[in-house]
Symmetry: C2
Subunit: 360 residues, 2 copies
């Protein structure tokens, strides 16, 4: 039964089953990785956060040394937002669909960075209002053509939110099935930092002013208005941790729900998942509220300048790997962390032990 | 003539000629890159430091968009230090030679990270006291078998320092000649953070306590002693900016001098040079004192936890790209920055312009 007392739909039951299938990461293997690092040919601890990353990878995989990722992929989940009508962004809604086309053509920022780090780009239309062109890189799994206006009522139904979670999980499962061993989360959706800020506020309890930022370019007046929209919506719908799927449905975007599914599916398959900016950490708040052990599979790739990202990361207890002043989304910041993750695994596999010094 | 009034050696004259051949980077191309970024399919400025990197690459190359680096290489310059006799490190001096063997065998941290980012590893023995084995990856250009004890007198002669500069420059020139288009600086030398701290103090004017750190693992008592050694040596020999080569000779290591040569040679050939930890930024202080325009070719790959690194970077006005708590050297932190540098160039080449949205 939902908190409201209604019967749980089959879709929602699938989400619950997915969350229930996630096993905790293996802290014993993390300890083993730390001990291993202390015996390698370098001063103990001298690789700092990269040693911690190696321990995390061992915990995720349940193996030490952890496997070296060879096939990373970024899932860029795209959706539109009814709250766009409230004037919370200077960009027209049609840009969402146009950018999906760009991702498919390989001409967006995410493509240039993915090509650099050897990652595949998978695009998920889980709720675009426009009509992106067909493309082999694009998965059509549209739950609805954009959310309803979250400032006027729930953004979507529980069932729609659950369906979007499963769409993301399905794509992640398929990618992992085809060999992908490192998942990066990415988002596209004009006005989605408004929904993202709502989710961060609802799940962390932080105030609207603390979590709302300029997103893709709101000026001071627009930011004040956007903050008021966030405050009103959270006051009306925010149930936070008590009902994660209800909160996701009321305040989120279809892409946030889909990314929560990517996270749950990755965790289920013991694949490390790298977060990007505020919308992906908002999705992580939902995913970890649905399934606390999923937190162990998450790495904060970077710290977005969007204030909600830092509020969410602090709430999750995740320290970002990079801090480069990015605020683009698409998975760009998460992808930039990928080579460091791969290096962290390789160090544990390739390096000699101090005991080997002078032999050879 | 040197400041002391002696005739300048032919070797030193070659260093002066090398420094004089460096042209200033092209700020106009940096501005062009910034304007180009503002027209690409993303909110202007939303890639933060990565956009600045792109502008830097354009300035270095004198072209916009800048060429995308395809063949990075790290130069690991190795040398030993007479000041080791003062008990400034817990590691035996023989480790320098043993680690050079490890670099050649591909089993050190630098190799694992270089393999991850697609970089070649070139090792330069410019002053190891031991006897590394022959290996195709190792260049023998030993100026002397380790420096003299800088706490007792000059670490080397001006001519030796100049010869070490030229050894580094020669290897960098050869690498660039064979197609290398991005240079990373790396160091190996037991006790070299003592020499590095001396150089940072002498070139920046900072006090010994502000620049001396635990290096590869000095405890509190050893650190206090090491700081006193640095303070004494700098008081005795430090001439700083007034005589860069003299300062390098009095206080530096052969690997610091060689890395200054790598920097000058890279700058001469308009190749971007990525710095690593405290020893490479100490070398950068020497290189930019010899040749101020060389600064424009330098990127701080990361912020080492060694305090002298931050003092030196602040003096140079360089903001580090990464901050991962590393303090290993070998070029490890510089290499981790390489994919971000490559991505910065690719973004300027691969991305569509806003004007292209909706076409295709």
């Amino acid at each position: 039964m939902t908190p409201g007392g209604n019967a749980i739909s089959g879709t929602e039951r699938e989400v619950v089953a997915l969350a229930g299938a996630v096993e905790a990461v293996d802290g014993g293997r993390a300890d083993e990785a730390r001990r291993r690092h202390d015996g390698l040919v370098k001063p103990p601890g001298s690789l700092g956060a990269v040693e911690q990353l190696g321990a995390w990878l061992a915990a995720v995989a349940g193996r030490c040394p952890p496997p070296v990722p060879t096939a990373p992929a970024v899932v860029v989940a795209a959706g539109d937002h009814g709250v766009h009508a409230q004037g919370v962004t200077p960009w027209p809604q049609a840009v969402t669909s146009a950018m999906v086309d760009m991702f498919c053509q390989g001409r967006a920022a995410v493509n240039a960075i993915a090509a650099t780090v050897g990652a595949r780009v998978a695009v998920l239309d889980v709720g675009v209002a426009g009509h992106p062109r067909r493309h082999p890189r694009l998965r059509h799994a549209r739950v609805r053509a954009g959310t309803a206006d979250l400032s006027q009522g729930p953004a979507m139904t529980r069932e729609e939110a659950a369906a979007a979670v499963l769409a993301g999980a399905g794509l992640a499962e398929e990618l992992v099935g085809s060999g992908v061993d490192l998942l990066v989360t990415g988002d596209m959706g004009i006005a989605n930092t408004t929904a993202g800020a709502c989710l961060v506020a609802a799940f962390t309890g932080a105030g609207a002013a603390a979590v709302t930022g300029p997103g893709a370019g709101a000026d001071a007046a627009m930011l004040a208005h956007k903050t008021a929209v966030v405050a009103g919506a959270v006051a009306r719908h925010g149930q936070g941790q008590a009902d994660p799927l209800g909160t996701l449905a009321a305040l989120g975007g279809l892409e946030h729900a889909a990314l929560a599914g990517v996270i749950l599916s990755g965790a289920c398959d013991r694949v490390p998942v790298v977060l990007d900016g505020v919308n992906t950490v908002a999705a992580a708040l939902a995913a970890t509220a649905l399934c606390p052990p999923a937190l162990g599979y998450l790495l904060a790739g970077h710290r977005s300048t969007e204030p909600g990202a830092t509020v969410a990361l602090d709430h999750l207890g995740l320290a970002p790997l990079l801090d480069l002043g990015l605020r683009l989304g698409e998975g760009t910041g998460g992808l930039l962390a990928v080579p460091i993750v791969i290096a962290a695994a390789r160090l544990l596999t390739d390096m000699a032990a101090v005991a080997d010094l002078g032999e050879g």
